[in-house]
């Protein structure tokens, strides 16, 4: 499906028959314009990230880190030097890890049920999974707090975790489901024909095959969890996560350490992402050795 591959035969045909040449008329300028526009759009997406990376090396005067003063490594050599910032980050990582495990496990089971089985009520279930995605975060957070208040549940680490699994579930289900849809069931049938039990089939055939989808879902869940502010803000009690720490800081003082940790999170996520892509590509290369079924 590469664009180049698809246009090549036409170019040849155009030469042979001298037919449609008009597609090129005035096209140069348009092509050039599109290239420039796309590059500007990409630049727009990346500039704020660059600003964060650059300002993490700033040595700001005053409480805010908004104006460039001079290059400094102080914040990078002492990233946890601001009281509370290390604990907040640790809390965020713990919640992200636990909620990722919870949401990925529950969501994968749900996705399996949705794609693999014919059952009554699939349409309402699909709708039910979609509704949380269409609900503004502020409503999700406020609603959950309403319930906790009514039951006199003390908000804190546990309630944040509950909330994160809740909002991550729909994302996990949808991600895993999209992976499952192209799944070749004959492989499972083959395993069962060869005498594998249902559990063995799942563990040895199904799970490894859907693993890329499960991993992307888990990565997404982790990223969403560690980034969440709105829902957490409602259900955190006195627990402080990294985004809550930033929110508190944004009104009082923004030390460069915040930019340093943000840069670290960015670089680590980027590395993880590249690693996953690289591994998937390797897996696909290995899989492409055997003949592939015809695509629809």
């Amino acid at each position: 499906m590469e664009a180049g591959a698809a246009t090549a035969p036409t170019a040849a045909r155009t030469q042979e028959t001298g037919r449609p040449r008009n597609r090129r008329r005035g096209g140069k300028l348009l092509d050039w314009g599109l290239n420039v526009y796309a590059l500007l759009a990409l630049l727009y997406l990346l500039v704020p990230i660059a600003v964060i990376l650059v300002f993490s090396f700033n040595n700001p005067v005053g409480r805010f880190n908004f104006i460039w003063q001079e290059f400094s490594l102080d914040a990078w050599t002492d990233p946890f030097g601001v009281p509370g910032i290390g604990d907040a980050l640790l809390t965020s990582v713990e919640i992200a890890a636990l909620s990722t495990i919870g949401a990925t496990a529950l969501g994968t089971l749900t996705a399996l049920a949705l794609v693999r089985y014919e059952f009554k009520g699939r349409a309402p279930v699909n709708f039910f999974i979609f509704v949380p995605l269409a609900t503004p975060e502020v409503v999700l957070g406020a609603a959950l707090l309403s319930m906790f208040l009514n039951f006199l549940v003390a908000t804190g680490f546990g309630t944040i975790l509950i909330a994160h699994i809740m909002f991550n579930l729909s994302f996990v289900i949808i991600t895993v489901r999209s992976r499952l849809i192209g799944f070749d069931r004959s492989l499972e049938e083959a395993a069962q024909d060869l005498g594998a039990t249902a559990w063995q089939t799942f563990r040895l055939v199904t799970l490894p095959l859907i693993m890329p989808g499960v991993i992307s879902a888990a990565l997404l869940a982790f990223a969403l969890s560690i980034d969440d502010f709105v829902i957490t803000n409602f259900n955190a009690g006195s627990t402080i996560t990294f985004p809550l720490f930033i929110w508190g800081a944004a009104r009082v003082a923004v030390p460069p350490q915040i930019y340093v940790i943000a840069s670290m999170i960015f670089l680590i996520t980027l590395a993880l992402m590249l690693l996953t892509v690289w591994q998937q590509r390797r897996a696909e290369k290995m899989a492409s050795v055997r003949p592939e079924p015809e695509e629809e």
Binding site: L45, L106, A113, F119, F130, P136, E137, N150, I226, T269
Partner: protein
Amino acid sequence: MSARIRKAGLPYLLLLPGLGWLAVFFLIPLGYTAFESLKAGTLDTGFIFDWQFSNYTDAISDYNEQFLRSFEYAALATIAGLLIGYPLAYFIAFRGGKWRNAMLLAVIAPFFVTYLIRTLSWETILSDSGFVVDTLKSVGILGEDGRLLDTTFSVIAGITYNFLPFMILPLYASLERVDHRLLEAGYDLYGRRRDVFLRVTLPLSMPGVVAGSLLMFIPAAGDFINAELLGTPNQYMIGNVIQSRYLEIGDYPTAAALSFILMAVMLAIVLIWARIAGTEALLGTEGEAR
């Protein structure tokens, strides 16, 4: 247990944990919000359930300005997102070549930076003595005491940036799926570039336009972080009101009523959209029933 019963019960068993979690921590809380929204009283005397429907009418008449502003800002940001995102998605899908994955990575890169920090970064970029304001002043676009920060512009720009990847990814997904043979057919039939784009590419990418607009509009309309950090109370949206009523003032009934109205309006928009676009594209369930 016979094999038949197992087969029939298994899907429900698999669904139970996930859907149960959503029922207990999403559906029931909504019920409590409804309950909360009909209470009367004050924070000091306590709130008592009283079928206080006036909470809804009061909420609408007191905060219709913020409601309208939320939808206006979200709509403007979505349009800006389409204008920025469509050409970029088109470029990546048709001209990306071997750089395609790298460019997609750049599209989602903002998500690797904490949301609040992305917004703080815009605060840095647009700040009063920053590079952008200085440049605009020296060119004369901005007056001597002109500002970018704390304006409607900065809030909408922030919203646009923060939710742009939600727009670009579905656009890219639908453009990438466009069958190039159809475009070739269009050219072979002497279609000009504009005709082929308007009559083939654009209609085929409509599911992406619909999904992207929705995915951008929903979080944008409920957002309050951009208005808080990049704006002033004059730019406050309905999210700001809900969060301050709830967490700062403790006026739970009003906050609950506002939440419910916001959610109802959102669901209405989504369902109307689904009618227009077809539910499969929206729910992502194409090709599911096997």
